[in-house]
Every structure is written in structure tokens, then in C-alpha cells.
């Protein structure tokens, strides 16, 4: 009985509570995010960030409880992707905290690659402890290389505010938005209330990448078949120099583009994975270590069955590449799912991320003979399949302390101004050597002369520098056809000797170089394009540990093979199965067909 009464009372109280609650709902509803009071009609940045669910404040901060413009906008951020606020916006615990940490540690945010290489070569600093962030915070006295970095290089990084400075530079940077919010005209329809929000996307157009990646290794140019030219602006157009222009008063000429672009119209993101671009959380000392994609990842793929997880999520975000159901996807070297390379039954399809177009890939069951050749185990794909590489010989800096220049990081002028001159450019006949992964790879020059002048404008001979390095990178000029055997085995420049005549004298190889650096007043006794002497003595440094030109033994072997080439020109030729043995036989067995033939023409 007592229990019953209590139950009835509780029931009554419950009804009362609901009634009361219902009553209060009848009053004026208080919006959670009062921004919407003014910004009534704002389009969604993308399907994952609908304004109706997120409001404005969750990304743009500010004071959502105020209806006053001034107060409401007080702590607002225009670009939530900016790395200086991103911990409170994109990176807050409920959203993408893990990604933000990775991005902040990635080379695009730290610039560690550039800084490390500069400090290593200019100051001999082995262990680099400086990155972009430390330079932004500390006002410490800068060394010469750091000054060069801050004034000539630090215009390209993710910490840079978007729209700061002018021209192409203004379009760089902006943290997450730097990549995920492509450039667009800010569209305002009818006043502030109706507003088209810039789109957030994971389908990043290549223009976004190339506004930064168009200098130094110039990958963003080469891939599209653009070679930064000698600046003539020819052929003229009307009464002007032509329109094939790059930022900084530079021009380009057209050369064969990378086959991935030319044939398949692939964009940067088709290969470069989120882990490769945003990093995996490690603070790498070079871009190369951060990059995730390899040629083999697609052309010799490792397929796995994947259920849910990152691959599904990325496919969902992409919205063009088909869903992964009952399909296998390829895995990158760092274990990222290449969700756009899928195995459907026995067929392998590559899907372009921008439009989802399917491209069927032929993957041979067994490697072709030319990819299995004894002696070619160490060849990188690029060694044979890259048709050209931008080569900038002789980079002549003047550093004048009597002049001032803006520092990209502090955006303030400070004493010391840099100017850059060149000797010459080339693109053909890439030079080969051994890279840090012990592979035969392409090398391109980075040869620095620094002439320093003091505050009075006097030349400082002792502070001036000369540093000669050759750097290995993938030029992104891949072609289906490879270079010919002779292109590497018989070409002095490819071997690293530079342009010139290679000949034998008294049984030994001799080299007569074409470029005379000494007479060209460059202060060195080797040509700018020489990586190594014919005796295997290195002439230039490299920027990575372990990277080097061919040594004497390697040169000898490569050149020895050259003698056999026009006769033994097939990969499957038996003499190459064990070349050392073949040489021995050639020297000892006088009844070989070689000798027979020779006898026919030279009795």
C-alpha cells in the first residue's frame, strides 16, 4: 500500500515535471550558437562539417553567446586551420587531435630538411636541433645559413599565415587549410547572412601543391613537363615576353611530362598518401624519409584485405573512388592503405582520386627479365625511367650586410641581403650515383658560392664560402621507355664524370673534360658537372649520409661492360648471368665466338 502511494506520487511528480518542461519550451528558444543569428544562411564547407550540427564557434571560436558583432568576433579566427590556433579548432580532442600532431611534426611544418642540410654543409653541424618553430620563437643571433633560410627559403611552410605577403607567396601556407581549402573567390550572395563557405576537401588539386613545390628540386614543375628556363621569355607573345611564367620573374619551357600525368592525367595526391604528406608523427630530417609512396607500391603491389578502418574512412571522404567491399587494396611501404589501388577478382584497378576514373593496371605475374638482371639489383626505377632532371650548375650568392632584407618568419627587415646568380642550367643526361639507400639514383647539382660583404660594403674573403654538392631526388619525369644501356654505360656525364671525352690511354681510362671551371674563374680545378674523377675520386659532397658518386670499382665495371654492349645488347644474354666469369673466359679462352669475329675483321 505504502509502496503504491509512493509510486503514484512519483508518477504525478513525473507528469508535473514533463508538463512544466513543456510549458517552458513554449518561450523564446535560446540558440546554442548565436553566430547564426546574423550568419543565417551559410553553406556547408563539406558533408563532414555541416553548419547545422557544428555551428560556427566550434571551428572559428569567438564568443557564440553574444549577439553583438564586436564582442562576438572578439576571439574569432578566420582560418581555423592555422597552426597557431589549430589545437583549439581542428585539433581539439573530439575532432582530429592525432592528425594535428602529425602535421606539426611533418617536414612541411618543421622545414627540418632544408635547415639540416644548410647547417650541415655551411657550418658542419651534424645534429640539427633547430627547426622552423624554434626560429619563430627565439630571437637568437642567426648564423649565416639560418639567415639564408629565413630570408630565402622560409616562405614555404605550413605555419605561414595565408594571405600574408603578396603574389604566389600569399597563397602559400595556412596550416590545414593550406591544402584542404583550395583557393576560391570568397562568394557572398546577399549580405553577411547568406554566405558560401569555402569548401573543405581531401581531393586536393595539384595547383595547391605546386604553389610551393616549384623551386629547388622543382618537382611540381617537372611532373607537368615544365622546365624553368634560362629566362628569355621566348617565343615573344605580341609585344611582350611570353606568358609561360613562374613566380619570381621566372619562365619555363615545355619538356616531356611525367607519364603519370601525360598518359593517366594523375594528380599529386593520386600517389602521395596522407601519411606521406602529413607525416606519421616522427620528426624527420628529410622529406624523403617522410614520403610514403614508392614506385613498387603500385607497380609491384602488396594487396591486403581490409575491413573498416582508415581505408574505408578515406574512401568515404573522397566520394569518387569506389567503396572497398570484398576487395583487396594495396599497402604502402609504411603500411598505409592505398585505397585507390584495388584488386577486383584478378584485375587491378587504379582509381583517380579527383574524378574516380578507373585505370586498369597490368601487373605481370613474374618480373620481366630486364627487371631481374644480375648486376642491376641496386638500380632505382628512376635511374632508367626518368628522362630528365632539372640541373642548376653554380649558384652564386652575394650576402651584403650593408643592405636589408625581410625575414619570412618575423616579417621584419634585418641587415643582410641575399642575391642569387647562376652559372648555367641543363635538363638532359642525368648524372647517376649511389644514394643513401645504396641504390643507383639520379643526382643534380647544388653548388653554392657565397660572397660576403660587411656593413661598409667591403668584401670579406675569409667569410666567403664554396660548397659543392650533388643531391639525389626523384625528378618526377618518369617515362615508360627506359634510357638505353649506352646512355648509362657509355656516357661520361651519366657516369658522373661530366661532359667530355672518355678515352683509353696505355690501357687506362682518361678523361678530357669540356667545362673548364678554372678558366671560367670558378676557383676550382674540376668541371661543375663532374661528380667524380675517372679514377673514382669524389669531387663533390652529397647531402645525405651514404650517398656518393660511383667509386673506382663501380666505374670500372660499368665501363668494362660498355665494351661488350653492342654485341651483347640483350638483357637475357648469357654473358651477364655471371659477368666476372664471362670476362675471365674472354681473357683466357681464345676459341670464343668473340675472338672468331674479331679475327674476321682484324687478322
Amino acid at each position: 500500500m505504502n509502496n503504491k502511494a509512493i509510486l503514484i506520487i512519483l508518477l504525478f511528480l513525473g507528469i508535473l515535471l514533463i508538463y512544466k518542461e513543456h510549458k517552458t519550451q513554449k518561450g523564446f528558444p535560446l540558440p546554442e550558437d548565436r553566430c547564426m543569428f546574423c550568419h543565417k544562411d551559410v553553406s556547408d564547407p563539406d558533408a563532414s562539417h555541416p553548419v547545422s550540427a557544428f555551428g560556427c564557434q566550434s571551428c572559428h571560436l569567438g564568443n557564440p553567446f553574444s549577439l553583438d558583432k564586436e564582442r562576438g568576433h572578439l576571439t574569432m579566427v578566420k582560418n581555423p586551420g592555422d597552426l597557431s590556433v589549430v589545437d583549439k579548432t581542428c585539433g581539439k580532442p573530439d575532432c582530429h587531435p592525432e592528425v594535428v600532431i602529425r602535421v606539426k611534426n611533418s617536414v612541411m611544418a618543421t622545414n627540418r630538411g632544408i635547415i639540416k642540410v644548410l647547417r650541415y654543409h655551411w657550418e658542419g653541424v651534424e645534429k640539427n636541433d633547430i627547426d622552423l618553430k624554434t626560429l619563430m620563437v627565439s630571437g637568437e643571433k642567426k648564423t649565416l645559413s639560418v639567415d639564408l633560410y629565413t630570408k630565402m627559403c622560409a616562405g614555404c611552410h605550413l605555419w605561414k599565415k595565408r594571405s600574408s605577403m603578396g603574389g604566389e607567396v600569399a597563397r602559400r601556407g595556412g596550416g590545414c587549410s593550406g591544402c584542404h581549402v583550395p583557393d576560391q573567390v570568397r562568394a557572398q550572395t546577399h549580405g553577411v547572412g547568406h554566405f558560401k563557405h569555402p569548401k573543405i576537401t581531401t581531393r586536393i588539386p595539384s595547383e595547391t601543391c605546386t604553389r610551393c613545390h616549384n623551386r629547388s628540386a622543382r618537382i611540381g614543375l617537372s611532373y607537368f613537363g615544365k622546365f624553368e628556363s634560362e629566362g628569355y621569355g621566348t617565343p615573344y607573345e605580341g609585344n611582350e615576353l611570353n606568358n609561360r611564367r613562374l613566380s619570381g620573374g621566372r619562365f619555363y619551357i615545355n619538356l616531356p611530362a611525367d607519364v603519370h600525368h601525360n598518359k593517366a592525367k594523375m594528380e599529386c595526391i593520386d600517389c602521395h598518401t596522407e601519411k606521406g604528406v602529413m607525416g606519421d608523427g616522427k620528426r624527420y630530417d628529410s622529406l624523403k624519409d617522410q614520403v610514403d609512396i614508392t614506385c613498387e607500391a603500385c607497380h609491384k603491389p602488396d594487396f591486403r584485405e581490409i575491413k573498416g578502418g582508415l581505408a574505408e574512412k578515406l574512401v568515404f571522404l573522397n566520394k569518387r573512388v569506389p567503396r572497398i567491399v570484398n576487395k583487396e587494396v594495396a599497402i604502402s611501404k609504411k603500411g598505409s592503405p592505398l585505397y585507390n589501388l584495388q584488386k577486383v577478382g584478378e584485375a587491378v584497378f587504379f582509381y583517380r582520386k579527383m574524378d574516380g576514373k578507373a585505370i586498369e593496371m597490368k601487373i605481370p605475374a613474374r618480373e620481366e627479365i630486364y627487371h631481374r638482371m644480375t648486376g642491376h639489383e641496386r638500380l632505382s626505377c628512376q635511374a632508367c625511367h626518368s628522362s630528365w632532371i632539372p640541373q642548376c650548375y653554380g649558384c652564386h650568392y652575394t650576402y651584403r650586410q650593408d643592405q636589408r632584407q625581410v625575414d619570412w618568419l618575423s616579417k621584419r627587415e634585418s641587415s643582410g641581403s641575399w642575391r642569387e646568380l647562376r652559372s648555367y642550367l641543363r635538363f638532359s643526361k642525368p648524372t647517376l650515383g649511389i644514394n643513401s639507400k645504396n641504390k643507383v639514383a639520379l643526382f643534380s647539382p647544388c653548388q653554392i658560392y657565397v660572397s660576403q660583404f660587411d656593413e661598409e660594403g667591403r668584401y670579406l674573403p675569409k667569410e666567403s664560402l664554396k660548397i659543392f654538392t650533388m643531391t639525389s631526388f626523384d625528378p618526377h619525369t618518369t617515362q615508360k621507355e627506359s634510357r638505353s644501356c649506352l646512355d648509362c654505360h657509355g656516357d661520361a656525364k651519366s657516369l658522373g664524370l661530366g661532359e667530355g671525352i672518355l678515352h683509353k690511354q696505355g690501357g687506362n681510362w682518361r678523361f678530357r673534360p669540356t667545362y673548364d671551371a678554372w678558366r671560367s674563374s670558378l676557383g676550382i680545378h674540376f668541371p661543375l658537372d663532374a661528380f667524380v674523377t675517372v679514377d673514382g675520386k669524389p669531387l663533390q659532397a652529397t647531402s645525405r649520409k651514404g650517398a656518393r658518386p660511383f667509386n673506382q670499382e663501380e666505374l670500372k665495371r660499368i665501363m668494362a661492360l660498355n665494351s661488350c654492349l653492342p654485341c651483347h645488347s640483350e638483357y637475357k644474354d648469357k654473358v651477364y648471368f655471371n659477368f666476372d666469369e664471362s670476362i675471365k673466359r674472354f681473357q683466357t679462352e681464345k676459341d670464343l665466338p668473340c675472338w672468331e669475329l674479331i679475327g674476321k675483321y682484324a687478322p
Binding site: 621569355g233 605580341g238 609585344n239 642569387e420 648555367y424 638532359s428 674573403p461 671560367s520 675483321y601
Partner: protein, 578 residues
């Protein structure tokens, strides 16, 4: 019949009389003393010219005056084509006749080839026009050109003909020289400053010869006053022009950028081995090579010249040509005595031990096709004549190897209100409206495509040139917009690759793959698939009919591997001291 004979006699008599009256006669009143009062210490001009000052330097109509008060009637350079007949002609009629017919004076090669390529004449050969009056004089420029055909004479006059002996050309470091006989026979230093003892001459002012002296042995640096830039001559000492953009004003030496001889900076590449050993131009190039034979030639290779085989022997003759005066045999060996230095060189002889010298087909190959180490490969020449004052776009490109253009642009770029451009016509010496700018697509030294020269031998080709012609009128209206000219006989685009003899000789030849199995040498450019820019690496036919590109058969032969080729190449790789 007799009448005709008499008439001829009479004409001859009058001609002789007239010729006699033209001869310089030493006036009696003006004495050397008058001149030497000021020009104290001036050098004697040289053996064989024992005249006093007036004989050579006083205007014809003033030869008989009593005294001269000022320099009004003084001829600075009596050998200038305008005066040469009157002064030098007295004794050197024969030489004047020779030189006037020579390419140094006619520039017929440059003129007729360019006019043909730009569509102004039906053929480049035989030559129709010359810079002097030996052939038809080059026409005056057309006032309102509207095609490459109507622009070409102006282009030649203002851009190319700076280098012929009718003018003393532009002034600048390395470029100072005189005109006429003196352009070779009176030496100028690179800075154009006088180094003699004439007190009246300011030794700080440029534009004077080194000394007041005629020379017979012309040193290398004198030839380089004209034969510079990316032309034969420059290559002999290894010069290759830097690019024009201001970022190529390198290197910085001891805090300064180096002075720019001939108007530009240079890369120094491997010298010709003859230069390396200390030989100069005139060691090989004799009077006939340089001053001609009296025949009017249409292109350089037509002039009979000293051949490699004259000194080194060759396929046809194993030993040097005994007729060459400077070669003496000494036992088995042959010695060459240099004219310029007097040094003796033991001649390296064409050796049959070298595999490639033992291949009969190589008889048809120029020595230079293998022994040239590098070549001038200047691809895609864009030229623009602009009559409007629009200079801003050239701010980074004002150094184009043309000191006049550079000076003019520097002046105008510093001005607020610009003047319309004017530039000199090097033929008549007048300033004319408009100025020519130029630029390249790419310049390289490593490629050596092959073709057949006028004697049917395989030789290295160089682009000369792949023109893109623009013309902007004085209102800034675009009349011609990067037009590729059409040849005068309608045989396609006016771009040419010409066989030539690179003066970049290496004592060892290039490897077999310098030509064989070499797509670039065979004329297929450097890429398998070309773009609008890389297709400029593909050779176009020469401008003169009796030279040509390789035909399909020759190209295939070069790119095919025969059994014989394989073996010979192997032997070459294995054994030779190339």
C-alpha cells in the same frame, strides 16, 4: 676591228691618266714637323711605309695645301673602304681587289642566307647581295615592313653587319677595332687604349690602337675582336656565352662580377688543342684563307682553305702537304713552324693504328665530326624589332651581347618619360628609328647533330638559326607576332642547321657513340616525344642547296648495328689510344 683596238687604247690611256691623278702626291708645304709638334713620340707605322703623315692622313683635296690649322681634313683611318683606293690603293691595288671580293668585306654568306631564309630571295646561293658594292648592294630598309621578307634588310643592317670590315662596329671591351685594312693590320687591345708614346693621344681614352703600327702577323686577340660570341673563333679559345638574364651575371670574383669582354660573360670550355699548344689563328689561316682569292664566294666553306690534312695527313695522303711552307721534314717526323710565335711543333700524323682511321667509310667524315669536343648549339632565336618606347620588359635582359643596346636600355630604364628607340644602321652609319632585341630558347654545347657539307662530307651541324620574328610599330601595334619566316623558294620554314667546322678540336676523337647509335647525332633530337620547345632540337635543312641533312638511309645506317661495327667498336674500346 682596228677601230675597236684604237678605242680600247684610248680608254686605257685615259684610265691610266685618271688613275695617276688619283695617286697621293706628297704635298710640299706641310711638313711632318707640323704634325709632330703635337704628336711627339708617335711610332713609325712600319717597314715599307716610309711616308710622312700627310701621305696617308690628309684628305685628297687638301694634299696640296700649304698648312693645316686643325684636324678638319685629317683622315683618321686611310684604309677605311671610303678612302682605301686613294691611299693604300697606290701600292696595294691587288690586295684591295682581293679583300673587296672576300667574305670579310661582302658578308655575302650571312646576307644571302638570311635573306633567303626570311623569304626575300629565291636562293641563298649564288650570292646576289653584298655589304659592299662587289655584288648588288644590300637594299635600303623598307619604311613600313609587314613581313619577315620586308624586315630582313633592316635586321641585317642593324643586327648582323656590325661585323664586317666596312664598319668599325660597336665599341666596347674586346670590340675596339678599325675598319678596312686596319681592322686586321692595326692592333687594338681589348680595352681599346693606346699604349704608345704619342704625347697627343690620351692613353686613358678608349678607341685607339695599341700603337701606330701596321702588322703582318695578326695575333689571335685581334681576330677575336670580331670572331667572338658563339661563333667560330670564340670556340677556339673555349668561349661560350652566358645566358642573357641578369641572374647569369656570375661568378662573383673577389667581390666583383667580372668585366664582360665582347659584351657578355663567358663560360670557358675546353680550348681547341691547337690553342692549348699555343697556336694562333694565322698559323693555319693564310692570306688566301682570310683575304680570299678574288672570287666572290657565297659561303665560308667555299673559300679554299688550309685543311687538317695539310698538316696531319689523312685518308688520301699519309704525310703532310709538302707545299705548306711552314712544314719541314726532319727524319721520319715533320715539324711545323708557327708564324706568330716562331715555335716549332712536331706534327701528330693521321695514324692508321686508330681503329676509326681504318674504316673506309670514314673517308667521307670530316675530322671535326669526331674530333670536335663541343659545339655551339643555340636553339630558337626570337628577334623583335620594336619601334615603340616600351622598355620595362627588358629590365632583366638588357645584356644581349650588344653594347649599344645595353647602353641605350640602361639610359631609358632610368628615365621617366621614354624616348622612342633608335639604333645604328652599321652599313650607312645612320641612326634609325626602332631597335632589335633578341633571345634564345636554349643554348647548349653538348649536342652535335650531323649533316653533309658542301663537299658531301659528314660534318657537325649547328642551328643558324631558327628564327621567330616579331615587329612592333611606333604606336606599339603588333605587326608581326613571333612569325617563323618562310624560305624564298617556298621550301618550308626559314630555319636552318648549317654544317660547320667547330674549332674545338680534341687530340682524341669522341667515342663511337658520339655518332653511331646516337639519336641526337642522327638528327632525331633528344626526346622520343617532343613538345613545342624540345622540337627545336630537331635539325632543319641547311640554307644552301649543296649541303643537306642526313637522309633516311644515312640515318638508319648510323643507328643500325652491323657485325662490322660491333667488332670495330670493340677493338676501339679495347685497344686504342684514341
Amino acid at each position: 676591228m682596228l677601230g675597236t683596238y684604237r678605242k680600247i687604247c684610248a680608254i686605257m690611256f685615259f684610265l691610266l691618266l685618271a688613275a695617276g691623278s688619283l695617286q697621293a702626291v706628297i704635298p710640299e708645304a706641310v711638313t711632318d714637323g707640323d704634325c709632330l709638334n703635337c704628336h711627339e713620340g708617335i711610332e713609325h707605322i712600319g717597314k715599307g711605309h716610309d711616308f710622312d703623315c700627310r701621305a696617308c692622313h690628309l684628305k685628297r683635296q687638301r694634299q696640296r695645301v700649304d698648312s693645316i690649322q686643325d684636324h678638319q681634313f685629317i683622315i683618321r683611318n686611310p684604309s677605311d673602304p671610303e678612302h682605301v683606293d686613294f691611299f693604300c690603293g697606290t701600292c696595294h691595288q691587288e690586295e684591295i681587289k682581293l679583300i673587296n671580293a672576300s667574305l670579310h668585306a661582302t658578308a655575302a654568306g650571312i646576307i644571302n642566307q638570311t635573306r633567303y631564309l626570311w623569304g626575300a630571295q629565291k636562293a641563298a646561293y649564288p650570292p646576289e647581295y653584298s655589304a659592299n658594292s662587289t655584288l648588288k648592294p644590300l637594299p635600303e630598309a623598307v619604311p613600313h615592313p609587314n613581313s619577315p621578307k620586308t624586315l630582313v634588310d633592316d635586321f641585317l643592317r642593324r643586327k648582323c653587319l656590325r661585323c664586317h670590315i666596312g664598319t668599325k662596329g660597336a665599341e666596347g671591351i674586346g670590340l675596339y677595332r678599325a675598319s678596312g685594312c686596319a681592322s686586321c693590320h692595326v692592333l687594338y687591345s681589348d680595352d681599346g687604349k693606346y699604349q704608345g708614346h704619342d704625347r697627343a693621344i690620351d692613353s686613358e681614352k678608349a678607341g685607339y690602337p695599341i700603337r701606330h703600327r701596321f702588322v703582318r702577323r695578326i695575333p689571335l686577340f685581334q681576330c677575336l675582336h670580331c670572331h667572338n660570341h658563339n661563333h667560330v673563333g670564340g670556340d677556339y679559345v673555349g668561349m661560350f656565352e652566358h645566358d642573357y638574364d641578369k641572374s647569369y651575371r656570375s661568378p662573383v670574383i673577389e667581390g666583383y662580377t667580372a668585366p664582360r669582354p665582347y659584351g657578355l660573360d663567358y663560360h670557358y670550355l675546353a680550348m681547341d688543342v691547337h690553342a692549348e699548344r699555343g697556336m694562333e689563328c694565322t698559323d693555319c689561316h693564310t692570306k688566301t684563307d682570310v683575304m680570299g682569292t678574288g672570287t666572290v664566294y657565297g659561303y665560308e666553306a667555299e673559300v679554299p682553305k688550309t685543311q687538317c690534312s695539310d698538316c696531319h695527313g689523312g685518308f688520301c695522303q699519309p704525310t703532310p702537304n709538302k707545299a705548306v711552307a711552314n712544314i719541314k721534314s726532319e727524319g721520319e717526323a715533320f715539324l711545323f713552324r708557327s708564324n706568330t710565335s716562331g715555335r716549332k711543333f712536331k706534327l701528330a700524323l693521321f695514324s692508321k693504328d686508330v681503329v676509326s682511321h681504318n674504316i673506309p667509310q670514314h673517308k667521307e667524315v670530316r675530322c671535326g665530326a669526331c674530333h670536335a669536343q663541343w659545339s655551339y648549339q643555340d636553339y630558337g632565336l626570337s628577334v623583335m624589332r620594336d619601334d615603340s618606347p616600351d622598355y620595362g620588359k627588358w629590365a632583366r635582359l638588357l645584356i644581349q651581347g650588344d653594347p649599344y643596346l645595353e647602353g641605350f636600355l640602361r639610359k631609358e630604364l632610368n628615365r621617366v618619360a621614354n624616348q622612342p628607340p633608335v639604333s645604328p644602321d652599321w652599313l650607312d652609319g645612320n641612326m634609325k628609328p626602332g631597335i632589335w632585341y633578341s633571345g634564345w630558347r636554349a643554348r647548349r654545347w653538348e649536342f652535335m647533330p650531323l649533316g653533309l657539307d658542301s663537299k658531301g662530307k659528314y660534318a657537325v651541324l649547328r642551328p643558324r638559326y631558327q628564327y621567330f620574328v616579331s615587329y612592333i610599330d611606333k604606336n606599339g601595334d603588333v605587326v608581326l607576332d613571333s612569325v617563323a619566316p618562310k624560305r624564298g623558294d617556298g621550301k618550308g620554314v626559314g630555319w636552318a642547321f648549317m654544317p660547320y667546322r667547330p674549332h674545338t678540336i680534341s687530340p682524341v676523337g669522341r667515342k663511337c657513340e658520339g655518332c653511331h647509335l646516337n639519336e641526337t647525332a642522327a638528327g632525331r633530337g633528344i626526346f622520343r616525344a617532343n613538345t613545342c620547345d624540345s622540337e627545336l632540337f630537331l635539325p632543319s635543312p641547311p640554307a644552301i642547296d649543296h649541303m643537306r641533312l642526313l637522309n633516311k638511309k644515312e640515318r638508319d645506317r648510323l643507328l643500325r648495328v652491323t657485325e662490322e661495327y660491333r667488332v670495330k667498336r670493340f677493338l676501339d674500346e679495347l685497344t686504342t689510344t684514341r
